[in-house]
């Protein structure tokens, strides 16, 4: 099944690889990372993000484990401390036809479409739930600009 990863890698290099998705170390196909900018139509514009993807041995039968760099992504569905991402396609809705690029694109989509139903960041979750957009965007901005000394989110 690991030839699947090689196929994806070849494909990415052929198609321009716009999310800089690549194995972190040359000879290890089990740990990948991706780098991208926050989407323009989101509070994350102008900031750069790193996503880590750990590939299980039975990939693509099981999804990769995905997390943002710790203390880098203030988002309703991301654990601020660990960077863990809560996304249905990475759990019960995973399908072996998905690939790493699709996973990255789904995480990017999460930045413009946060899901208030399953918050990992409770502060942001509450602000989103009560539709306090000023507070919500303000808190995200605060986190983004003070990544290390911001409130210790549970």
């Amino acid at each position: 099944m690991n030839s699947r990863l090689l196929k994806e890698w070849t494909q990415l290099n052929k198609n321009g690889n716009k999310y800089y998705l690549c194995p972190i170390e040359e000879n290890d196909m089990t740990h990948w990372q991706s780098e991208f900018e926050g989407p323009n139509n989101s509070p994350y514009r102008g900031h750069k993000f790193t996503l880590y993807l750990d590939i299980p041995s039975n990939y693509p039968m099981s999804p990769p484990k995905v997390r943002f760099k710790p203390y880098s992504m203030p988002h309703v569905n991301v654990d601020w401390k660990t960077g863990a991402v809560c996304l249905d396609i990475l759990e019960s809705m995973w399908s072996p036809i998905f690939n790493l690029q699709y996973v990255v694109e789904s995480c990017l989509r999460l930045l413009t479409e946060p899901n208030g139903e399953s918050p990992l960041n409770l502060e942001l979750g509450i602000l989103l739930r009560v539709s306090d957009h000023t507070g919500y965007n303000g808190l995200i901005n605060y986190y983004l600009n003070h990544p290390h000394n911001s409130l210790s989110s549970k």
Partner: protein
């Protein structure tokens, strides 16, 4: 240990494990607990298992009975959606066709998937469920909590 004891213990562990899976609880504890007590296969199964009403994988009999696509009808230039290999790249391609949705996959790939899941990877059709044609509707009224409508 008696096998029933073992089963009970496993159920208790799984319940504890499920409690710890709660995103509000400490994920470090969960990982520590899991790595100490539970075999890697079970960890994966429980972590991926999700809700208690999950659909389990298909039986081996069902998987073995999936219709094989005759060699002359295999689209050799198309790829298996799971491994991305062209069917034609294999000298002796073995391709299975799923019931209802008629999607094609390498036998080996789809067997692996269906042993843990019961859905088509392409369209999420529940592959081992009876179609409406096969269900005796005269009995439907008696079964008020029929899962299909929930």
């Amino acid at each position: 240990m008696e096998s029933t004891d073992r089963r009970n213990m496993r159920t208790q562990f799984q319940a504890l494990f499920d409690t710890l899976r709660d995103p509000q609880s400490n994920s470090y504890l969960l990982e520590l607990f899991a790595s100490m007590i539970v075999s890697p296969e079970l960890q994966e199964e429980w972590l991926n298992g999700g809700d208690s009403n999950k659909v389990k994988g298909c039986s081996q009999e069902f998987i073995d009975s999936l219709p094989r696509v005759p060699r002359s009808e295999i689209p050799l230039k198309e790829s298996c959606p799971i491994c991305y290999e062209k069917f034609g790249d294999d000298e002796y391609p073995l391709v299975a066709e799923l019931p209802h949705c008629h999607h094609y996959f390498d036998v080996q790939c789809i067997s692996l998937w269906l042993s843990k899941h019961a859905t088509c990877p392409l369209c999420r059709d529940v592959v081992n469920q009876k179609t409406f044609d096969n269900i005796d509707l005269s009995k439907a009224e008696l079964e008020e909590d029929w899962g299909m409508y929930s």
